[in-house]
């Protein structure tokens, strides 16, 4: 390996390095912890031939590379979050060496402490509301339109049915969000995911993240299950607990 640098996955509190045994970084690299006044930066060596400025610009264009790095980054964050209070860093944060990692942690120290205070004992849950893509039901007698006026009336009815379906889905999404929000300490709406990326045919009408007290998670999931039953038209998907990515933001 030429010119190793340090890739930083997360900043954690109350972390014991021994608990990360068996976790590896990129290309099987050992996970190390850089300690700085009670904060632990979780790092591994990376090669500048892969993670240097110029290669990185190129590699970020390679979606297979991005997927590999994103999944490894995520796996390490997952392990760290399981054994500490963990603030994940954004993908591809690369420092020259451990001294540089310490200097950066030091300069953001109070902000990092604020973030860790905010997420301590809490976890992120993902809630999505999806509407199945089903064709708008035709009127029972599918006879040809008797007249131009009849044709227009049918067109209007079909359009009304579509609008009703959409309105009901939007109402359901709003209600699910309100229920989740009431059981959470913070919430963030995310962009609905592209069906081409998820490979799903349903339309996503809600994609949101909720920060939930660890001991409240059963009440949270139960409330959402109940909300889902109120709206048979839509599918409510609740996933978690996840590390608090969406709430580990500075400022």
């Amino acid at each position: 390996m030429s010119a190793p640098a340090r890739y930083v996955f997360a900043v954690a509190r109350d972390l014991q390095v021994a608990e990360l045994a068996g976790t590896h970084g990129f290309h099987g690299a050992t996970i190390d912890v850089v300690e700085h006044e009670g904060l632990s930066a979780v790092v591994c060596d990376v090669d500048l031939e892969e993670f240097g400025e110029e290669p990185l610009t190129r590699n970020l264009e390679d979606l297979a590379w991005v997927e590999r790095v994103a999944r490894t980054h995520n796996e390490v964050v997952w392990m760290v979050a399981a054994v500490s209070t963990c603030a994940p860093l954004r993908l591809v944060t690369v420092c020259a060496d451990d001294d540089s990692v310490r200097a950066k942690v030091d300069s953001l120290r109070s902000d990092l402490e604020d973030v860790l205070d905010r997420i301590e004992g809490r976890q992120e849950w993902s809630v999505k509301v999806l509407v199945p893509q089903r064709p708008v039901a035709e009127s029972p007698r599918a006879t040809p339109a008797a007249s131009g006026a009849d044709y227009l009336r049918r067109k209007r009815e079909a359009s009304d049915r579509r609008r009703d379906l959409t309105e009901e889905a939007v109402d359901a999404a709003r209600e699910v969000h309100e229920v989740a929000h009431d059981h959470a300490v913070a919430s963030r709406r995310l962009m609905p995911q592209d069906p081409r990326l998820t490979g799903r045919t349903e339309t996503m009408v809600l994609n949101a993240a909720y920060l939930v007290e660890a001991q409240e998670h059963e009440a949270f999931t139960a409330a959402l299950h109940a909300a889902g039953e109120q709206h048979p038209l839509v599918t409510v998907e609740v996933e978690g607990p996840w590390p608090a990515y969406s709430f580990a933001v500075l400022g």
């Binding site: 994103a70 994940p88 993908l91 580990a248």
Partner: protein
């Protein structure tokens, strides 16, 4: 300092104050929207153009799961998207040639038909 005692069982979900984490999402969209768009931003020594990252999140809208998994799931629209694959571009050219040939045949046949 916290008085929390550290137990190797914690990762197995034994901690009373913290339920075990769920499985990491297999849905790449879930992973990417968090690792690219969320989390702490610390400027490292390696300059990553944030614009690149933002552009990437846009580009990712064009990405289906992983290439292998996509093929496995039968998702292959990108194979026929002329923006994304040279194979598709070649096919588009072939299709266009075929359309032009068909049109030519029509035009060549037209005078004969009108003459009958």
């Amino acid at each position: 300092m916290s008085e929390r005692t550290v137990s190797p069982m914690r990762s197995a979900g034994a901690a009373p104050d913290r339920p075990a984490y769920g499985p990491a999402p297999s849905n790449l969209a879930d992973v990417l929207e968090r690792v690219l768009d969320k989390g702490i931003v610390i400027a490292g020594d390696i300059q990553v153009n944030l614009l690149d990252i933002e552009l990437l999140t846009v580009k990712i809208r064009l990405l289906v799961v992983s290439v292998d998994k996509a093929a496995e799931l039968g998702i292959d629209w990108w194979r026929t998207d002329p923006m994304l694959s040279s194979e598709a571009r070649d096919r588009e050219l072939a299709d266009e040639n075929e359309r032009l040939r068909a049109r030519l045949r029509e035009l060549e046949a037209a005078p004969a038909e009108s003459g009958q």
